[in-house]
């Protein structure tokens, strides 16, 4: 191996690093990204506002749907509000941190990824921490608002188990969505104009997550219930919270298995990412 005295890289400290030291390069990048986003105040304000509007329109769309058909697939608007709140809040938080990851096609075109190769850090970690989308905060606020209203509007027999289920669901859902972003990035190594395809999973998936999965056809249930476990991020746990009957193909007990689906989505995502990197480097991927 190369030691630093031989290479003249005297500035490099080969010693054991603590978490604070290890994360420092990433924190420095993220801090500067946040500073730079906020430094263009007007721009930042517009971004925050438009992100809020998008979230609000999504919510209005659900309301409109239920305004015309008060009960869909055994759920009314108050109940779907809870699904929407859980799904949208966790999706917005995942997008805040991971949202730019599915811009990989752009990174490839601009050569940014080659620059990542020149730095002594894992590629995916660099990609994730290369940016942060603060504008999603207002979107998350819409989700949080829907969640709070949804929790109050529904008659939930609260117990410590219910609280644990809700918290576990929010965390697992955010992790699941993050996994879909990683999956989408991996796909884009193979398909040059892959964002159309991956958008259908990432944004289509988010849309599906805030819908009543009971009305889905069997193929859709397989796709967004299990392969990309969107129904598990909000709909199925909500059935458990509210004590509603579960539709065929999506048993309610799966509402307790959200961490398993989060792990699955990350395995799926990382396998896709790894094979994408292999493909990019031409190592027989």
């Amino acid at each position: 191996m190369v030691d630093s005295s031989r290479t003249g890289a005297t500035a490099y400290r080969p010693r054991r690093l603590g978490l604070a030291d290890r994360s420092r390069p990433y924190r420095v990048v993220l801090a500067s990204r946040m500073r730079s986003q906020r430094s263009y105040r007007l721009n930042f304000g517009i971004d925050l506002f438009s992100s809020f509007v998008v979230g609000f329109v999504e919510l209005a769309e659900v309301w409109l749907l239920f305004h015309n058909a008060p009960v869909i697939g055994g759920m009314d608007f108050r109940q779907i509000l809870l699904v929407f709140g859980i799904g949208d809040l966790s999706w917005s938080l995942a997008s805040l941190v991971f949202g730019h990851v599915d811009n990989l096609a752009t990174y490839l075109r601009l050569g940014t990824l080659d620059v990542f190769y020149l730095r002594p850090q894992p590629l995916l970690l660099q990609l994730v921490t290369s940016d942060i989308s603060l504008r999603r905060l207002t979107r998350a606020a819409v989700g949080l608002g829907a969640l709070v209203v949804g929790l109050r509007a529904n008659d939930i027999a609260w117990s410590p188990t219910h609280v644990a289920l809700l918290l576990m669901t929010l965390v697992s859902a955010a992790i699941t969505y993050a996994g879909t972003y990683v999956w989408a990035a991996g796909v884009q190594f193979f398909v040059v104009a892959g964002s159309e395809l991956t958008n259908s999973v990432v944004y289509g998936g988010r849309y599906a997550a805030t819908q009543v999965a009971a009305v889905w056809s069997a193929p859709l249930t397989v796709l967004f219930g299990y392969v990309f476990p969107m129904a598990m991020t909000a709909y199925v746990p909500t059935l458990v919270l509210l004590g509603l009957p579960a539709p065929a193909g999506l048993p309610a007990w799966l509402g307790w298995c959200t961490p398993v689906f989060a792990v699955w989505m990350w395995v799926f995502g990382l396998v896709m990412w790894r094979s994408g990197v292999r493909h990019y480097q031409g190592g027989g991927g």
Binding site: G8, A11, P25, S32, V115, G283
Partner: protein, 330 residues
């Protein structure tokens, strides 16, 4: 340095990279065509060398660089950079190599230059005191003091390139790879950058690998030239040797005392032109087959010489010949 010889910074053996592309469209695209971008390249660069890696567009220069730093996996052959396997040890290697891509930036376009440096120092885990000292050295040598607080997107190309070079050198890499660093720069900016690279090499013994289409870069910075053509190294040696490889000739210009007939028929020499009714004549000669003295003696036997100059082959011309030759069978 090790005891048993110079330190090897780059070592490739039979390095080959083949790209496969789908031919045709749709479902019939299963047929693939193979393009060999780098073909059986064996190259060794010792510590402290400055090597110009030249060739026409598409000759395989960038592909080679990508294999040297671990972006691409070789199809065949082996590569070691700073004694490491670039793909497997990419993250360790990144601490020892600095790369400047003329066409892509490693700075943060919306941040001031100073902040980009601070981030890179953190990324490379430089000690704060080391980072400060190094940054001051680079800022002084590259004359960047005036725009450290300017966002990168507001810099001129010349300013940005200097910042790019500083960014690549901040962690004191032992190998610096520059991919067309002077592209688009004006004369003064080029000169500054070259002077800096010479000084950096003198001060730290940095190894340089440089791809460029600017022969001034090669003439001023490199003591060795590797010419690639269709992925193969067709010349590895000094510039003069390159001129001989492509058959570029030295030229002798003689001013005669009186107008004389064209000086034709001198062995290994071609008469190029005569001016002033034959007062000034230009002869090209093959430096491998004859010497300037022999040619001059032959001229002097026919006419009285008043003055003379000998012109070395123009490097631009040398490379143009190579590129043209390679273009013909493309």
């Amino acid at each position: 340095m090790s005891i048993d010889g110079p330190d090897i910074v780059i070592e490739t053996t039979g390095l080959t990279r083949v790209f496969t592309r789908r031919a045709g469209r749709g479902l019939r695209s299963l047929r693939r065509t193979a393009l060999t971008a780098v073909d059986d390249l064996t190259l060794r660069v010792d510590a402290g060398e400055a090597v110009g890696y030249i060739g026409a567009n598409g000759a395989g220069k960038s592909t080679t660089i990508k294999m040297l730093v671990g972006i691409l996996v070789p199809s065949a052959g082996s590569v070691r950079t700073c004694g490491l396997d670039p793909v497997r040890d990419r993250r360790i290697l990144a601490r020892h190599v600095g790369v400047v891509f003329g066409q892509r930036s490693q700075l943060w376009w919306d941040l001031p230059v100073r902040e980009s440096f601070a981030i890179l120092a953190a990324i490379h885990r430089l000690r704060p005191s080391d980072a400060t000292a190094r940054e001051e050295e680079l800022v002084a040598r590259l004359e960047m003091g005036g725009y450290l607080d300017t966002p990168v997107r507001q810099l001129s190309l010349g300013q940005r390139m200097r910042a790019e070079v500083a960014a690549a050198l901040l962690h004191r890499p032992r190998l610096v790879i520059l991919d067309e660093p002077t592209i688009g720069l004006d004369v003064l900016s080029k000169q500054r950058l070259r002077q800096f690279l010479l000084a950096e090499r003198a001060a730290h013994g940095t190894t340089l690998l440089l791809t460029t289409h600017d022969m001034g870069d090669i003439e001023r910075l490199c003591d060795r030239v590797v010419l690639v053509d269709h992925g193969r190294a067709v010349h590895d040696g000094d510039l003069a040797g390159l001129a001989r490889t492509v058959g570029a000739r030295r030229e002798l210009v003689v001013d005669l005392l009186a107008p004389s007939p064209d000086l034709v028929g001198i062995p290994h020499t071609v008469h190029l032109m005569s001016d002033g009714g034959g007062i000034r004549q230009r002869l090209a000669f093959d430096a491998d087959a004859t010497t300037a003295a022999q040619v001059l003696a032959a001229v002097a036997s026919r006419a009285e010489v008043r003055d003379l100059t000998i012109e070395e082959p123009d490097i631009e011309d040398v490379v143009r010949r190579v590129y043209e030759a390679s273009g013909r069978d493309r």
